[in-house]
Amino acid sequence: MELTSYGPRSDGSLDATFAALADPTRRAILARLAAGEASVTELAEPFAMSQPAISKHLKVLERAGLVSRGRDAQRRPRRLEARPLALATEWLDGYRRHWEGSFQHLDAVLGELKARESRRGRRKP
């Protein structure tokens, strides 16, 4: 990972990455491609979706640079492009950890407040 390459960016590519990842089917496609390249037919198999529907998702993933097409002209296999995904993860990591750590402590504080309130017979302050 080249840490120098993910500083302040204004090209919008991270927004495209996050938009592409916002959909569960697209995340499942990426997880499948993580195991190796696959054709559209193979990708459509585990989903209750038509090939055109899968192709639509693939277009979004391709535009975000997350998926590319292999050289085999017949199968046109898709494969995962790991770099944008890794960049997006790295980018969010510090922010996420800060808030995850905080919210875990907040869980504990709320647990105590709830216990205190139920001891008082559920009266609200």
Partner: protein, 164 residues
């Protein structure tokens, strides 16, 4: 509704970051934990050896708040701002600025609490003055907390690791 404990981070626009998290508690308690200094000091940014040494809250519209954290090496980080809207127990809008700000301008944070069946969905949206400011915030190496299992991104990366 997502299950408690899962933190979701999104970028709703090119100047914003939004976080969503479900808590297993009614929202009046979440509101209390967010606005009472003795409670806030126990959870906000206090991990990885950091503690909150100043927590002042003047909870009224136009009132100021100020937080200062101290790190394990003794360094301090302060931030503060002004309350713009306060609607207990559902909404707070504040301005926010760090003392040694590494991004330009003042940000505006909107906290929204929605309660369903005794659980509260917290959404915190922070709007920065520019995309550059937002990106600088997200890229900053904040102190390391406890990394819990997170989301699909982590799952995809894990499966990439297995495939490699």
């Amino acid at each position: 509704m997502p299950s408690p404990g899962t933190l979701k981070i999104t970028t709703p626009s090119d100047r914003e970051v939004a976080m969503t998290r479900v808590f297993d508690a009614p929202r009046h308690l979440v509101f209390e934990a967010y606005t009472r200094p003795e409670l806030l000091k126990r959870w906000l940014g206090v991990h990885g050896g950091w503690s909150m040494v100043v927590c002042e809250i003047d909870l009224r519209v136009g009132g100021a708040y100020r937080y200062v954290w101290r790190g394990p090496d003794g360094s301090e980080m302060g931030m503060g701002g002004v309350y713009r809207e306060i609607v207990p127990p559902e909404r707070i809008v504040t301005t926010e600025k760090f003392d040694q700000s590494w991004y330009p301008g003042t940000a505006v944070g909107t906290l929204v609490l929605v309660e369903h069946g005794g659980r509260t969905t917290l959404t915190l949206t922070v709007q920065y003055e520019s995309r550059e400011a937002r990106d600088a915030v997200l890229a900053s190496p904040m102190e390391q907390g406890v990394a819990a299992g997170f989301d699909a991104l982590a799952g995809v990366l894990a499966s990439m690791g297995r495939a490699a």
